[in-house]
């Protein structure tokens, strides 16, 4: 079997809803990917450490609590400190447009807002991994 794309999905922050993440997990799984889900209420640092242990292609972080402008900088900082600055970082959840632009400038590869259709999610992940190339 060809190498599966590995994705770690995480919920950071205080909100206790993970229906959206679970739906995303299922559509990535159905597209043949290995999806690791770490559960609710993780810290940005924990999420990065888990993603490194799992050697995932893509780290997807979902936030509904509005803490994205503090969470993503901490994630990016941790990735840099650990020497894995090239891990593909995806954001998801509820994030206002102006912040989307800022987050992308910081190094978040893409943001998948709530209600992004499954095929767009799958295509985005595949495209980002393909563009990264072999590792």
């Amino acid at each position: 079997m060809a190498e599966n794309i590995r994705v770690l999905l995480a919920k950071v922050g205080l909100d206790g809803h993970d229906r959206g993440v679970r739906v995303v997990a299922r559509c990535l799984r159905d597209a043949g990917m290995d999806v690791i889900y770490t559960g609710l209420h993780r810290t940005p640092e924990e999420v990065v450490d888990a993603a490194i242990q799992e050697d995932v292609d893509v780290l997807g972080v979902s936030l509904l609590s509005g803490a994205h402008m503090t969470a993503f900088p901490r994630i990016i900082k941790r990735l840099g400190e650990k020497g894995v600055g090239d891990m593909i970082l995806l954001g998801g959840g509820v994030i206002p447009d102006e912040d989307v632009t800022k987050l992308k400038q910081m190094g978040v590869a893409d943001i998948l807002l709530q209600d992004t259709p499954p095929n767009v999610i799958v295509d985005t992940v595949r495209r980002l991994v393909r563009d990264r190339g072999a590792r």
Binding site: R29, V35, Y37, G39, V84
Partner: protein
């Protein structure tokens, strides 16, 4: 890790226990990347120090939660712990959702614990094809205890006993009126029995059912010196884990320097050899038969040849 680093160049960093290097080599082993084969060979030669604990039991019996608490106890005793948590791949898409880490969040920031989720990708037996490669990598990276959490379904689960030094079989109360391990036919492989969720009132009857089964002689062999203990644990309350850690230590001591221990190591090697040979055979068969499948199937469908003859024809030229 930004650029491509060859497996050979990863090796010194793996030996130094660097997590990103360990993680990357594990991915290559999992992908059966020929580039890492020589490095894995070298690693195999150096491995053999870690104590490998296999943990099986039906889904929902509390394996992941128990692994987390057990790992924390082993950490307190000064050990480094590697965890390989295996989940089934979807037979339809080949993908997998792996959620064992959800139960292991208390270990998140401990540098002495490494957790890796692995999908079976079509492998039977409750483990992934590369699980034992992963064990070797964690072994040479300095992890003293390696805990393998199996998928936990079906009869095939017995394979874990041919892959680990100590096999824990987890039974939980409340999952039906029969002890699931008995039903699944995996009672016999236990070196240690764990009854999980002992905080539940119905756990006592699970313990007594299990003990009764064991004294009936179903699972104990009078000739072997080791009698699998039954230990009740509650991951929720953290109870029973001192006993469990000490049972693991006793079983480890029982194996060390004994004939039973040498036999176990030998059995693991033999299992590995057979598994690898089967894998190679499967790959060669696929390659050598690929060009003929359609034509032979046509003749078989037309009932010109028998299934046996068709099979023989497909095998022609294998091993070349």
């Amino acid at each position: 890790m930004s650029r491509f680093v060859s497996s050979r160049d990863l090796l010194p960093r793996v030996l130094a226990g660097e997590v990103p290097a360990v993680a990357r080599l594990l991915s290559r082993a999992e992908a059966a990347d020929p580039e890492c084969r020589e490095t894995l060979g070298e690693i195999y030669g150096r491995a053999g120090k870690a104590h490998v604990v296999g943990i099986t039991g039906v889904p929902g019996s509390g394996k992941s939660t128990m692994v987390a608490v057990l790992a924390a106890h082993l950490r307190k005793a000064g050990h480094k712990v590697g965890i390989i948590a295996i989940d089934p791949s979807s037979p339809y898409s080949g993908g997998a959702i792996m959620g064992d880490r959800i139960r292991m969040s208390d270990l998140a920031s401990d540098e002495g614990v490494y957790i890796r989720s692995m999908a079976t990708r079509g492998a039977l037996g409750g483990m992934a094809r590369a699980t034992l490669d992963a064990v070797d990598i964690l072994d040479v990276a300095g992890f003293d205890y390696i805990l393998i959490e199996t998928v936990g379904v079906g009869q095939d689960e017995v394979e874990i006993a041919s892959a680990s030094h100590t096999t824990l079989v987890v039974s939980a109360p409340g999952l039906g009126d029969e002890v699931q391990a008995i039903k699944a036919g995996i009672l016999e492989i236990a070196d240690v029995h764990v009854v999980s969720k002992s905080d539940r009132p119905d756990a006592r009857s699970t313990v007594s059912d299990l003990k009764q089964m064991l004294t009936l002689g179903m699972a104990t062999d009078a000739k072997t010196a080791w009698r699998p203990p039954v230990i009740a644990t509650s991951s929720l309350k953290g109870e029973g884990f001192d006993e469990l850690v000490s049972a693991l230590g006793q079983h480890k001591a029982f194996l060390e320097g004994s004939d039973a221990g040498r036999a176990r190591v030998r059995r693991i090697a033999e299992f590995r050899m057979i598994k690898t040979a089967e894998e190679l055979l499967r790959r060669r068969f696929k390659e050598s038969s690929a060009g003929r499948v359609a034509a032979v199937a046509d003749r078989l469908a037309a009932r010109e040849i028998s299934p046996y003859v068709a099979g023989e024809q497909l095998l022609d030229g294998i091993g070349a």
